[in-house]
Every structure is written in structure tokens, then in C-alpha cells.
Amino acid sequence: MSNLTIKNLRKSYGDTEILKGIDLEVEDHDFVVFVGPSGCGKSTLLRSIAGLEEVTSGQILLDQNDITDVAPAKRDLAMVFQSYALYPHMSVGKNMSFALELAGESKDVIAKKVASAAEILELDKLLERKPKDLSGGQRQRVAIGRSIVRNPKIFLFDEPLSNLDASLRVQMRLELARLHKDLKATMIYVTHDQVEAMTLADKVVVLNAGKIEQVGSPIELYNRPANMFVAGFLGMPRMSFLTAQVASCTDTYVTIKLDAGAELTLPVQGHSLSKGSKVTFGIRPEHITVVEENAGMINTSVDASEHIGSDTFCYVKTTNNEDITIRTQSDCSVVDNSKIGLEFDISQSHLFDNDGIAIATRTTSVS
């Protein structure tokens, strides 16, 4: 059993605070993904867990032991770097056995562990080669192999797939998922790629500006984003936001008037809105239907459309110049600058208060 607890972790460089109080629990066998825009502190958080960054304050506990000030080597963690960070002067086999050698393992044990890791990762035939003679995917596998042989309590991955081309990335993503299942290991994975986050994670941690915005399963975050940041960050293309005002409300219903025109009534649970409150209405591209002009909830004009084969993305502007993205079938043929009407699936919509915090709508709060 190994679980990681992070308590009020802070990290500053001079006057700049990179991590502004992180609290997090990572359970045994969890695949946790840190995701967020660049500069949000996700890599710094991972490096702090690894012991490569000194933290300013706070605590990191591994199995109830305080490891905040323990040297990286003594933490019993393994890390896979974005650049692979293989030792260029050592063969693949040596790269994988280096840590075991340093730990003073016997030759037999080392040989056995390297062989079994090589088998898992299909590296058996490459053990004598130098990293420079390997392809990107193979290098990445060696970097993972180097972690596996140590049998660490937690695997740390720092954007491990971002140097690979698109098809290899998909393949390695599947391999990583398989590895996690086979090894039953605890893994923490940093990425800015939301597809990786959604597909790999048991638990996604969305970071922004040094703070955790939301923690939850991928589908939970997608269906019930806690705020506008998470709502806008997860989902491709991103959620569209329309400004609105509360026209009237009861305990269970809110009627809002979009600045773009329509009046919508949404079922809500426990809110502090009152008539006149400014709110933001959020709707994902896949929950909008294109209809004839004047036949829908609002009218818009088409800015541009992209046909990507399986779908068509339409970018439209409302009468008050707000942007909306729509995902429709591939055979949808809207003409640029033409006028179209839009129909929203209210049951899938989101509502945010003036501070960008989500208001639980009744439909989305039922999981």
C-alpha cells in the first residue's frame, strides 16, 4: 500500500509564487493526471514530489512518512522525463540497471529484473544498443523500463509523450494504460494534453495559476465542472460561454435572459441568485443543434466552418458579438456569413455565477 498526501504545499521563486497551497490525496493504485495550461505549476508540483525542487512550505507524506526534505534517491519514486533523459553513454541494459547497481543489488538480481522489464516493454533485442540508435518510441520505453526495474512506490511521468509523433503517442498511451493495469502501480502523470488526461486518468487534477481548480474522475469533470476554468479547459472544441442576467428565479428554477436574445429556464439546486444577477450560460459544442433562422432559441451568423471528416465545427457569432462553437454532422453544409438559428439542449447546459463558480443544475448534478 502506498498513498501520497500533500498538505498545503507552497513553492516560490523569489517573489513569484508558483504553487499556492496544494492539498491532495493520491490513493494506492491510482492513475492521477495533473493537467493545466503551461505555467500552471503542474510540472513544479511533480518535481516537488520527486524531490527535485525544494518546497517553500507544506508537507509531502508517503505512506504517512514525511518525505518533504528527503533526498530524491531515498523517496522510493521513479520518474520518466519528457526528454527521456537516458544516459547517452550507456547501453539500454546499463541504463535500466544503473539504479540497481547504485543500490548495490547482486548481478543475478539485476540481470533478472532487467530481463523481466525488457520483456514487458519488448526491449529484449535492444539491450546492447545505445540510446542514439533507438527511435523515439523505443527511447520512451527504455525510460519507462528504467523506472520499472526499481519497483518504486510511485511512478512519476512528466509529459512523457509530448516528444512523440501523433500515431506513436496514441500507441504509447494505450501501452501506458495497459502497464498501469498490469503493474497495479500508483502513477502520477503530468500533461497539457486533455485527451491524455481524459483517457488515462482515474483521477484528474486540474491546475491553474498554482492552485487546484478541481479534482475528480474524467467524466465527472467533464459533466460537472466546478467553475468556468475547468469547463473551458476540458472539451474539444471548448465550451461556449454566453453572458446573461437572471430574469426571475425560484428555489428550483432560474429563468435567465441571454444578452444574445433568448430567455431560458433552467432547473437548479440551491443557489444564491436573485433577479438581475449577472450569470454565464455554458453550452458544449455537441449540445447545440443548427436550425433555420428564426426557428431556434437565438439567431447567429456563421463566421467559419471546418470539416474534419467525422464532424463539422461551425464557428458562429451572436447578434451581440459573442462566439459560439457548434459540432454537427459532417454533411452539414452551412455557408459562411449566412444566418442560422440555434437550439440548445438545456438539460446539458451549465450555469456559472458572477465569480465563475458553477451553479448546480438539477440535470447535471445527477451522476
Partner: protein
Amino acid sequence: MLLTLKQQRRLHTVAMGALAWLVALLIFFPIFWMILTSFKTEIEAFATPPSLFFTPTLENYITINERSDYFHFAWNSVVISFTSTIIGMLIAVPAAYSMAFFETKRTNFTLQWMLSTKMLPPVGVLVPIYLLFKDFHLLDSKTGLIIIYTLINLPIMVWMAYTYFKEVPKDILEAARIDGANMLQEIWRILLPMTKGGLASTVLLSLILSWNEAFWSLNLTAYNAAPLTSLIASYSSPEGLFWAKLSAVSTLACAPILIFGWISQKQLVRGLSFGAVK
């Protein structure tokens, strides 16, 4: 007539090649002339116009061998340059390691300040150094020269090692740290093997600079610790210059380092380009 692009390129290559040869010959000429003169008699050495064709003689080399103990000076040169290089590397590697991987706000300034000390005219500190050496009984001692050579070559050695270390991705050292390497293991098993080419050229450069150094060896040694550069100087005697003998002794002094440099050409070129060519 207009040249095609291909012809222009070829012409360019030929012209650049010719220019490079010309420069190389120009640089090599004094050495060539020195070797040539060392095989002439004193009279031939003086002749105007100088003679290109003559009967070579070993007379000068024989005289030198009789008059002075070449191997005494050569041994001093070897001991002083190798020891100062080894000590220099022992200081330069950790210094460069800390500056390359644990940079502070003042690292850049320190590096530039170190290099700027190389721009001072050595003669400016001759008197204080001389007096210090006298007080510490270091005059005409190999220890004294080793200390001086180590100090004057250190800035360049640190700077070069720093440049090579900077090329090593930080990730790799961090990976070693996570794999359980302590600082010594990190340097010895990862950093040094990865930069061995660059460090070899640093060693070579330090050896060459120490071997060729003349100012301090002339001023701080008499006989006991005198290296080959002092031997050469001793042949420019008050009774006038003996060109042939001077050339012979110079050839003998240059020969070891020249051969050494020839063998390690490849490393040296990389070293002198300061890592600019990867």
C-alpha cells in the same frame, strides 16, 4: 560570361580552399624555417640571400647536447605542465559543475570576472609575485611554477568545462539523482563520461599553454626548475645570437608538444571552437 550557380559554388569552394592553404602555410612558415635553420651551420644560417639548398648537419644538436642537459629541462616541462593540468582539472571540474547546474544570480559575473583576469598584463603583478615567491622560498622551484601555471590557466579551464557541462541536459543528471546517485557518482558516472571529449580538449589546451609559457618561467626560475622555454632563452646569449643553435634548441623544445598536438588534432579543434561546433 555569366557563371551558372553550380560553377559559382565550385569557384567559391576552390577560392576558400586556396585561401585556407595560404593562411596555413603562412602560419607554418616560421616553424618550417626554424627546423630548416637548425640543420644549417652558423655561417649558412646568416647568409643573405638565405639558402634553401644546403648540406644538412647535426652539428648544432650535438653542441647543444654537450653544452646543456636537454632532458633536465624537458623533464621539468613535463612535470610542471602535467601536474598543473591535473590540479587545474581537479579544481575546474567541480567549479564548472556548480556553475553550470546550480546557477545563481552571480554565476555569469563570476565567469566573466575570472576570464577578465586573463586580460591583465602579467608583468603588472611580477614584483608582488616575485616577492611572495621569495618569502615562501618558491623561487626556482617546480612547486612555484605549478602553482602559477595552475592559477593562470584555471579561468580558461573553468570556462571551457562550464561550456561543455552546459550542453548536458539537466534532466539526465536529475534522472541519475532519482536513480540514487550521490553527487560524486553523478559527476563520475554520468557527467564526465558524457563530456569526456570536451574535457580532453581542455586538458590538452592547458598542457600546451603550460608547456609554452615563458614569462613566468624566465622570471621565477634559474636552473633547478627551469623548463624548456628557459633553455631556449639561454641561447640568446650576450655574445650575440647563434641562429642555428637557437633554432635547434627551439626545435627540440617545440617537438614534443608539436607531436602531441598533431596526434590529438581532432580534440584540439573541438576544444578551441569552445563547443560552438556540435
